[in-house]
Each structure stands twice: as structure tokens, then as C-alpha cells.
């Protein structure tokens, strides 16, 4: 009634369970004749080796993991335009690209990939579930309580992605947020001659958003423009809806005074919201005002005007993560590594380059 085991296969083929095991693990160590008998019995019984038992006995799983936050933009989801008319396509998120990258790389190394997003009100520690079933895993910043990570990373290779290292003995990969935004702001200032900029940031706790703001500040400083200590506005979740609100707030605030020549958003989603808001107000982009994002999500090139942004190499992030994990698995004591992946500015229509 229950699933067949090595014992069943062994019995049916007249060998010991050790031999059955060998057939699956290292076929060449078994006489061809014996092997065939075993395989035949296995087939007849519908035998499938238990990954759990294997893992338990051998202390490896052949699986790498990824924990990522539930990044779904709720606005994009409920939006009839995005959901009903749904090309899911446009809504591809970071996590999807990281997954792609990791899956590819993992496959090359003979690993499968276990993915799990932190469910918002998740009861059980997401990470524990993953951690218990993989040989090593990557974590997107802010997905898992540092405290948990602290404990787990003592027993298992962990690589932190796209955030500050937080725990100093971990491998870690980040993206050149600051460089990218500085580059972008420079472009606006130097190539488009804009001198009145506004920056819409994210949560103060978001290292990415903060780094981007720093890049913006640097560009302003270089150009001799006024440098603000804080973004002109902050948004918690950095969603499209917040982009709309931020834009309205900024423009209302500027009413009467001179309107900024460009608004730089800490991510694409907000910038796209801004595009909508501006259109509603009858302002033309980029003629009346330039808009930029950050991330290079697919939607950014589909919206009209197409969005000038900074592309993050998310897929590569995933690939590098796997490389780091594999390398650490091979050599658990090597020193922690910290990588910074370069980004590139995508000059498109929303800044006037289209």
C-alpha cells in the first residue's frame, strides 16, 4: 500500500539493500547483470528513491534555496489594466529574474532550486523551512530576520543579495546603487542641462533606496547644485500608487513656485505611477518635466514614454549567488566574499533621450 523502499526492491531482485543503493548512487560499482535485475524490480514496483532518506543519510540535498520578499505590487495587481488585460509579462519582478539566474546556474552545477517568498503574516519561520531542506541558500535583503539568519548561517552557507551584509561572516553581493543614481543624475544635469531636480526616496530603512539617494546627492554636489539632506519625499512601499501620490504632492507643493525640471524616483514602479499622474495633470514628459526610475523592470520600456532608468543585473545576481554558494560548499572555511555588481543607465524617452 505504501511506497516501495529499497527493501522491497532488494527482496524482489534478490540482492541486499546496499546493492540497491549502489545502483542508484554509483551504477558502475555494481555488476551489469545485477544492476539490470535491480532496475527491473524497481520499475516493476514503481520505486522512487526518497530524497528525504537520502538527504538524511548522506547529509546533503542537492538543492539550493532562495528566500525573497513578497514583492508583488498590490496596485499593479488590482489594477484592471494589469490583471485583467494581463500580460503578466510586464509585471515581471526582480525576484523572477533572480530566480531565472539562480535556476540556470544551479542546474549547471547539478542543483535544483527551492524558492519561497516570505508570506506576509507567515507563522512558521520561512527561512527555517528552506534552511532545513537545502545545502545552502541566498536571501534577498530584508526578507528574513537578521537574528534567524545569524543562527542559521552558522550551520549552512548563506549569501546575502542586494543589501548590506548585515552579518559579517556571510558572502554577499550588492548592486552599485549609488554609482548608478549618480550616473543618472549626472546625465540629467550635464546632458539635459537640468538644474532643478527632485528626488523621491523610499523607506529610510531601505539600504538600496538610501544608496540611491546618496548617489543623487553626490551628483548634485559635483554640479554645484543645492544638496538636500533628505529626499524631497519618501514612500514606504515604493509602489505605483505611491508614485502617483508623491507626484501630486510634489507638484501641489510647488504650486506657484517653479516646478522641478525632473523628478528622480528611487524605483521604476513609482516612476511609472508618476507618468500616470503627470498625464492626468496635463503635463508632458519629458517636455514639461523629466522622470526617471531605477531597476529596469520590463514595464519600464513598455510604458509611454519609455522610462529612463538604471538597469540592475538581476539575473546575474542570481548566477553569482549560486557560484558563491557552490564555492563555499566546496571550501567552507574560505574568507567571506563581497561582490558589487555594476549597473548601467538606460537612456530612454522620459528624460528626453527617446
Amino acid at each position: 500500500m505504501s511506497a516501495p523502499t529499497v527493501y522491497d526492491v532488494a527482496e524482489r531482485s534478490g540482492v541486499s539493500i546496499a546493492t540497491v543503493s549502489r545502483v542508484y548512487r554509483n551504477p558502475d560499482s555494481v555488476r551489469a547483470q545485477t544492476r539490470d535485475r535491480v532496475l527491473e524490480a524497481a520499475r516493476a514496483l514503481g520505486y522512487v528513491p526518497s530524497g528525504n532518506a537520502r538527504g538524511l543519510a548522506s547529509r546533503t540535498t542537492g538543492v539550493l534555496g532562495l528566500c525573497f520578499p513578497d514583492y508583488a505590487d498590490p496596485d499593479a495587481e488590482t489594477d484592471a489594466e494589469a490583471e485583467a488585460e494581463a500580460d503578466d509579462s510586464a509585471v515581471m519582478l526582480y525576484s523572477d529574474q533572480i530566480i531565472r539566474g539562480m535556476e540556470r546556474a544551479a542546474r549547471r552545477h547539478g542543483y535544483a532550486l527551492l524558492i519561497a517568498a516570505s508570506l506576509v503574516g507567515g507563522p512558521e519561520s520561512l527561512v527555517a523551512k528552506v534552511a532545513g531542506r537545502v545545502d545552502g541558500f541566498a536571501v534577498l535583503a530584508k526578507t528574513v530576520p537578521t537574528e534567524d539568519l545569524e543562527v542559521i548561517s552558522r550551520r549552512l552557507p548563506v549569501v546575502m543579495l542586494a543589501g548590506p551584509r548585515e552579518i559579517d561572516h556571510l558572502d554577499h553581493i550588492e548592486v552599485a546603487n549609488s554609482d548608478g543614481e549618480r550616473e543618472l543624475a549626472r546625465h540629467l544635469i550635464r546632458d539635459h542641462g537640468l538644474r532643478s531636480l527632485a528626488f523621491v526616496g523610499g523607506d529610510r530603512e531601505s539600504p538600496d533606496a538610501q544608496a540611491r539617494f546618496r548617489g543623487y546627492q553626490e551628483a548634485c554636489r559635483e554640479a554645484g547644485l543645492p544638496v538636500t539632506d533628505e529626499p524631497d519625499l519618501r514612500a514606504e512601499m515604493m509602489t505605483q500608487a505611491e508614485g502617483v501620490r508623491a507626484t501630486d504632492a510634489l507638484l501641489d507643493r510647488a504650486a506657484g513656485r517653479e516646478r522641478p525640471g525632473a523628478i528622480l524616483f528611487a524605483n521604476d514602479q513609482m516612476a511609472i505611477g508618476a507618468l500616470h499622474a503627470l498625464e492626468r495633470r496635463g503635463l508632458r514628459v519629458p517636455e514639461d518635466i523629466a522622470v526617471t526610475g531605477f531597476d529596469g523592470i520590463p514595464l519600464s520600456r513598455i510604458v509611454r514614454p519609455s522610462l529612463t532608468t538604471v538597469r540592475q543585473p538581476m539575473r546575474r545576481l542570481g548566477e553569482e549567488a549560486v557560484e558563491l554558494l557552490v564555492r563555499r560548499l566546496a571550501n567552507p572555511t574560505r574568507d567571506p566574499v563581497s561582490l558589487m555588481l555594476p549597473v548601467s543607465v538606460a537612456r530612454r524617452a522620459s528624460c528626453g533621450c527617446g
Copy 2:
């Protein structure tokens, strides 16, 4: 030196291993005071429950799986335009969307998702690896030898996606290929008044491609147009390059005679190849000739002219797959289900609707 176990935690906190286990499995069944002692010990030791041991003892994993083919379009990959300039964005594939859908749905049900693509020359049976580590899994058609599936599905819930059922006791979900293509052809005939159509199909073994051709035939029949037994042309892999070749072949063949008013391709990739080929020949789409695809990949709306196509609900496919798996897990003996998901025609520029 090695990872701490329940025994270590039990000893350090002065309880039995059973209590430690309870703390993780059902915290409320342990007195708060005891629980805290255990948790503290666990923290101190860096204890992480072994998923393998848990799975082995409880006979469940809390993980669902997905096996998908290595779908990368080699043409799209090597293409400098797609790889170097790389917005991965445009290259999002079915599998990515299915993964999205499954991950979401799995999460809702408290499952994590294990994904594995069949590596081309893969040694070990991909599916065995997955099968041994999950409570149930979905398989994209043509990914796994039917023979293996036959064996495995006797022990584990399996749902077949986007293909023929192949094994009759499996749950299975397909997409209304035939309906979609019929709808599309009708639109061309009725709304655009086209009466001379050509169809470029795929491999005779591809059920999807065949079903699409049938839909095309039906529309022709309804409209009193000549009905061919075979597609005007077939392509093995249905890549862009083949789309180019097919288009050239078709047009060369028609040289002198009347050129078809529209070419319907069995998928988007070929249709996009056709767009290139036609441009090269100086033919305008849709004025001189209409072109349609099938799938609704992201690229289809980005190309110029944007491609009229039939959108497949890939994400929903993933969601439904999880629902089916969960339901079968709850009731292993219920009759196999077969779902057909509806598709929708996306009328865009390449047929003259843009």
C-alpha cells in the same frame, strides 16, 4: 562540530527530544516556560531542524515541484540584441510565468516550490530528483519521459501541464489551443476580409501546434475557404530563425502567383522571425500581408508592428496546477480531472488592428 540535533537541544534545556520536537511542530502543546527554555537552548546552539529528518519521519515535505524543459530559444539567446543589450525582460518565458503562478498559489497553501529544468544531456533522471523531494509536482509537457512519469505517478500526485494527458490517471490542464486559433482565424477572415491564408505549423508531434492547426482548419471550413490537410509549412523548433526561413520559403513558393493575405504562425517566435523576414523583403505588415502568432509572449507586444496573437494564461496554469495538487493531496482517490483554460485573442497591429 557537526550540526546540533534535537538531542543536543533536549539535553541543554533539560527536556526530552519529544518536547523539542513539539516546540517546533505545535508550540501550544508545550508549557510556555518549557518552550522558552527549549527555544533559548536552540538559539544558543544554532539549531536548525533538519527538513530531511522531518520529512522522513512524517512522510511529507511541504514542498511542491515543477519540472520544465530548457526552453531557451537559442536564437534569441545568441542574438546580440537580446543578450548583450539584455533586458532579460523581453525574454521572459512561459516557464517563468508558470513558476510565478505556482509559487504564489503554493505559498497560499503553505508550500514551498522546488523547480528544476531538464538539462539537455542530463545524466540523472531529473524527475527522480524532484519526485523524491516533494509532496507532488507539475510537469510541463514533453519534459519527462512518459515511462518515468508512469512509474512515479503511481506514488505521488502529478499534474500534466499544457499538453495531452498521456497518462490517463493524472490530473491535467491544457490550454484551448484550437479554440484560440479558430477565433483568431475567424477574426482575420471576418473582420479583415482576408480570404487567402497560410498556416505555418510546428512539429507533427507537438500536440499544441497540431491543435492550433485544427482550429485554423475549422475557421477555414466555416468560412467556405479551402481546407488543407497539412500546414503550408512545418518548423521543428518553432524558433525565430525558422520563422524567417518559413516566410522566405512561402513567399518564394508563391512567386508569380498570388501572395497570401496573411500568414498564421503556430507560435510568436516564428511570427517575430517572419516580421524580420518581411521587412527585409520590403513587404509591409499589415498593409501587404498580415502576420499572427500564438502565445502572447512579452516580446510580441514590443516588436513593431506589435504582434496579433493568442494569449495563453500561463500564470493561471501554474495556479491551477497547485490547486489540483493540493486537492489531490487532500483526497488521493478522487477521479482525475482535466481542465481546459480559455485563451484570448490579442488584436494588435500586425493584423491591422493596431
